[in-house]
């Protein structure tokens, strides 16, 4: 029970943050962490079961572009646009996922098929340049005054912070629901040995499809939220390999198997990027990226469990009892 209290206290503390008069810059960092923390959590919902997707940029792209295009062209509110985008993403996940899981496409092959999916979406966005603006990107049409609940636009950053906070917390809640469900056991068994899992009555294809569609739907929300916040989207920053790999790396850095791992990954990568940017500035192109890439390589070699996973493992070792692992590190 104390965990639940802890969670409520944590979220309450976060909710109080804007009241302390943070500057716009810090609030912006927080909102960015929350949005990406949610996206990374969405990825890890399926990624933790050995289904490594290198194409989640596809779902981000659908979320951002479908919602923005419906709003800009038809004035359709994101409240309707987001569900439409989710349905589209889930259909896409179903169309690609069903044959994948049916024919046992796993590991490298699965990663590369999803990578192709991400490229299809990115190139489609670029190809539809008359509607999407192509590589130049697209701006979300603002409402007069800057704030409209119907348009999901908030001139006040603090309001957007609360929206992002709610979505992020909901993402963690979904993660926990999956963690405690039978689906988790079915998927863990499947990731170890599909034949053995099937022989004890696990419908492997169905279980994998469910989690993939869930993850796709959540990622779509993340993409739409990102578009509503930035008010500008670009095929390179929202879909394609760059962003898809970034999702995977942040989760690996934070920790794939813990609830807060992806969020820590979002914090870590953002802090790193900001520190490098502030330290070296924009004068030296590429220095921040060089260090970032180097750190990623070192992380995967020396710390494959990520930040939270390593901390959790350290705690377990100190207590000397494997059973006393914190619930957040259940795997």
């Amino acid at each position: 029970m104390d965990k639940r209290i802890l969670a409520v206290l944590g979220i309450a503390a976060l909710a109080a943050v804007p009241q302390f008069g943070l500057g716009n810059y810090h609030l912006h960092l927080l909102i960015t962490v929350l949005i990406w923390g949610f996206v990374y959590t969405s990825w890890s919902v399926m990624g933790r079961f050995g289904m490594v997707s290198l194409g989640h940029g596809a779902f981000l792209g659908v979320g951002g572009y479908v919602v923005t295009m419906l709003w800009n062209s038809f004035g359709l509110t994101p409240w309707v646009g987001i569900p439409i985008a989710i349905v589209l993403s889930m259909t896409m996940a179903l169309l690609v996922g069903y044959p994948c899981f049916r024919f046992r496409i796993v590991g490298h092959y699965f990663a590369l098929v999803t990578l192709a999916l991400g490229e299809v979406v990115r190139l489609t966005i670029v190809g539809l340049r008359d509607q999407t603006g192509g590589s130049l990107g697209m701006t979300v049409e603002g409402v007069p005054g800057g704030t409209s609940f119907l348009a999901l636009q908030f001139g006040e950053r603090a309001t957007f912070f609360y929206l992002a906070l709610i979505v992020w917390a909901a993402g963690l809640w979904v993660w926990r629901m999956v963690d405690r469900s039978m689906l988790r056991y079915a998927l863990e068994a499947s990731s170890e040995d599909e034949d053995a899992a099937a022989s004890v009555g696990v419908n492997v294809t169905r279980a994998k499809l469910m989690i993939t569609m869930l993850s796709a739907g959540m990622t779509t929300i993340g993409g739409a939220l990102y578009a509503q916040y930035q008010m500008y989207i670009n095929p390179e920053t929202i879909s394609g390999i760059g962003i898809s790999l970034q999702i995977v790396f942040a989760v690996i850095a934070g920790g794939l198997f813990t609830q807060l791992g992806p969020t820590v990954g979002a914090m870590f990568t953002l802090l790193l990027a900001e520190t490098l940017r502030v330290t070296f500035g924009h004068d030296i192109h590429g220095l921040d990226g060089t260090i970032y890439g180097l750190l990623l390589v070192l992380f995967i070699i020396y710390m494959p469990k990520g930040i939270t996973g390593s901390i959790a493992a350290g705690l377990v070792r100190r207590r000397g009892a494997p059973g006393a692992a914190p619930a957040a590190a259940t795997h």
Partner: protein, 285 residues
């Protein structure tokens, strides 16, 4: 009605297929032997292109010398990649091996930006255009196609006719038994990495004649290289060779009927569809 432009794009597709086949060859070799996908493969090619550009334009070396040095540099880079990055993760989860080279992708891309800037660079060498009937073909592409064929042939001869090549093929078939037969897998891995890198270097020398080099160029033909390899069956060199030409036709002819992006979209969509029909590649047993 006979359409000259369509024929031209079909032949251009065949020429492009040669380059793709060469690109896929090195990646396939590395995967077949070491069982690791170099996600950063296209970035190795990019480094090769920069090396050639730099030696040729800055140091004024003759082009063949610059190309030779470029191939050597990328081959060395392949060895370094294996020793520094792949070896420490060889025993861990396969997906870590995939991701670690993804980290190298970011690193090389940013390092190239750091050293060479984001400008588009080209050799400034004018390649003649070959006219045949009413059709025009770039000489660089014909050269690339011919070199690719020769490269494929040489690699095939090396793998089937030489002692070392036989050892490489043997280890790709059974990783556990070969060490018992007295083959040192680490040495074979290093040689394979060098050849894989060298292949990337050869591809770089052909691409640098046709395209401007910039730090993000790897992203434009990296994915297509992976698709070619996967469609042919990862590690299956003959499959990759055929798949390269199939893909190139989709891109070239698709680009002729629509726009070039749609050529790629059709090629990728075709790839996804093919994965469902032949999940382990075109020539899976």
């Amino acid at each position: 009605m006979f359409d000259t432009f369509l024929l031209e794009s079909i032949i251009n597709g065949i020429l492009l297929g040669g380059v793709l086949a060469l690109l896929a060859l090195g990646l396939n070799l590395v995967f077949g032997v070491i069982d690791v996908v170099w996600i950063c493969y296209a970035e190795l090619v990019m480094i090769g292109m920069y090396t050639i550009w730099w030696l040729f334009v800055f140091y004024g070396l003759p082009l063949p010398v610059a190309i030779g040095a470029g191939i050597a540099v990328v081959a060395l880079l392949g060895v370094l990649l294996h020793i520094l990055v792949i070896q420490p993760v060889l025993g861990t989860a396969p997906i870590n091996q995939l991701l670690v080279t993804g980290g190298v992708l970011f690193f090389l891309q940013a390092a190239a930006t750091l050293v060479f800037g984001i400008e588009f660079r080209n050799l400034g060498v004018r390649m003649p255009v070959v006219e045949f009937g009413d059709m025009f073909f770039s000489f660089a592409r014909i050269l690339a196609f011919a070199t690719a064929l020769v490269g494929v042939l040489l690699l095939w001869l090396f793998l089937t006719r030489s002692y070392l090549g036989t050892a490489i093929r043997a280890i790709s078939q059974d990783r556990e038994i070969m060490p018992l037969m007295g083959v040192d897998p680490r040495r074979i891995y290093l040689i394979t990495s060098a050849i894989g890198g060298g292949m990337a270097g050869v591809a770089a020398s052909l691409l640098v004649l046709q395209y401007d080099v910039h730090p993000a160029i790897g992203l434009s033909f990296g994915p297509i290289t992976f698709m070619v390899c996967v469609m042919g069956g990862l590690g299956n060199m003959l499959g990759g060779f055929v798949a390269a030409f199939v893909f190139a036709q989709f891109i070239s002819v698709g680009g002729y009927f629509f726009q070039i992006e749609w050529g790629y979209v059709i090629a990728f969509a075709f790839f996804i569809a093919m994965m469902f029909i032949r999940p382990k590649g075109l020539f899976s047993r």
